[in-house]
Symmetry: C2
Subunit: 215 residues, 2 copies
DNA sequence: ACATTATCGTGAAATATTTATTAAATGGAT
DNA sequence: ATCCATTTAATAAATATTTCACGATAATGT
């Protein structure tokens, strides 16, 4: 049932969550896991989990569950955990600083390899990451073959910098600004809008009182 | 509640985004806006936007578009922008610090009114927000009638603190930890998992190359 | 060896969401 | 005043996603 027909997006978004929990289980020495236990930990419905896994083939054993090691090494391949992925951070303000200290590498194969800001920090190394001046953006991104960027600049600059990122070869942007930036086809933007998340939370509390599940 | 049939969740999540853009338009002195223009700014499909608005009744005029002021004041009511909403921040690490400096109040009716951490910062005031010791959690949350919390504590403590928050009356949690915490019915959790967002971005870039839209 | 139990995989049903289509209404141009 | 381009609202169709329900099957216990 495979030949890699495309996986539903909703499933794709859950993949990293499964992956992380599986690494936790392996570290804990757990050998087997059922969809029901996985559901308990991830808060996704057990049937959803089985369905998700089934897109990749029959990974489990009936009456038994899933073998943690096997599942983990399979998902490691799916998520391509084999190589380190370098990411650029654009804008080293408060949030940028926090992200520099946020150890992505600890629980994934990603790390911030370069950060950019206007003058203030240039030349410094913060949390082991060199800070470059914005003028070096294209040069460094190309030289370091980075194709993912985290954008934490003031809203006013977001579109202009996005354009520069795209022309430097960036293919994915995690956008922390409230502006919905425009990008050409082939570039993907993941918006992380903290004010919205909070406002949505407030709205749901006031209007959908008894429904629990987030995301 | 009201005679209003319940709005789809997908729509509810877009509401704050519409709201913010409408405030921007009003500030800019724009009087009318079409779904197509709104689509350009928000990156949602114009038909989706019209459908979203239509759940609230006929807010627009055919052949004309939407009146910015009218739409804005309507959404202000829907999102209950009338009163200030106090939020608690639990955990003042790097990310917590960034959130203290992140001016939610500027673009919404929310603000962090109290922050909690173990000893290090207790008694201080950071970015105008008093920092309390974790031991005062229940007391302060009840006294200040806070029902939303932002959780940026180490994963190991997340569930225990969540339980305390819930028993103190918290109804909504914006969870920055990778742990999927358990909460009773009536409490809503919004997970913001930065590592996941990045990993998802990587996955989409590698597997869905030409599809742009995020979220 | 056999029964019992656990648990997957999946077709089908149910929900949810987006997109296409069309008729009706509006404002502005002629 | 009439026509035309615009643009919504409503209905229908198409997609996407989740959930149900159950047969199939592996592991375990007797």
């Amino acid at each position: 049932m495979n030949e890699q027909a495309r996986i539903p997006r909703a499933t794709a978004k859950r993949l990293p969550i499964y992956y992380r929990y599986l690494t936790f289980l392996e570290d804990a020495g757990t050998n087997r896991i059922s969809s029901a236990e996985l559901a308990e930990a991830t808060k996704f419905d057990a049937a959803t989990i089985r369905r998700d896994f089934s897109y990749f083939g029959a990974l489990g054993k009936r009456g038994y569950g899933y073998d943690v090691k096997a599942l983990l090494s399979f998902f490691a391949k799916v998520l391509d955990q084999s190589s380190l992925i370098n990411v650029a951070l654009i804008g080293v303000g408060h949030l940028g600083h926090a992200l520099l200290n946020f150890n992505f590498h600890q629980s994934s194969n990603m790390r911030i390899a370069a950060a950019f800001d206007i003058n203030e920090h240039r030349g410094k190394i913060l949390s082991g990451v060199p800070i470059y001046d914005m003028s070096e953006l294209e040069e460094q991104i190309k030289a370091q073959r980075i194709n993912i960027a985290i954008l934490t600049v003031p809203q006013e600059e977001a579109q202009e910098i996005t354009d520069r990122l795209v022309s430097a070869g960036i293919k994915g942007i995690m956008n922390f600004t409230p502006l919905r930036v425009s990008v050409p086809d082939g570039v993907r933007v993941q918006n992380v809008d903290l004010t919205n998340e909070l406002q949505t939370l407030v709205y749901f509390i006031q209007n959908y009182a008894s429904i629990t599940t987030g995301k």
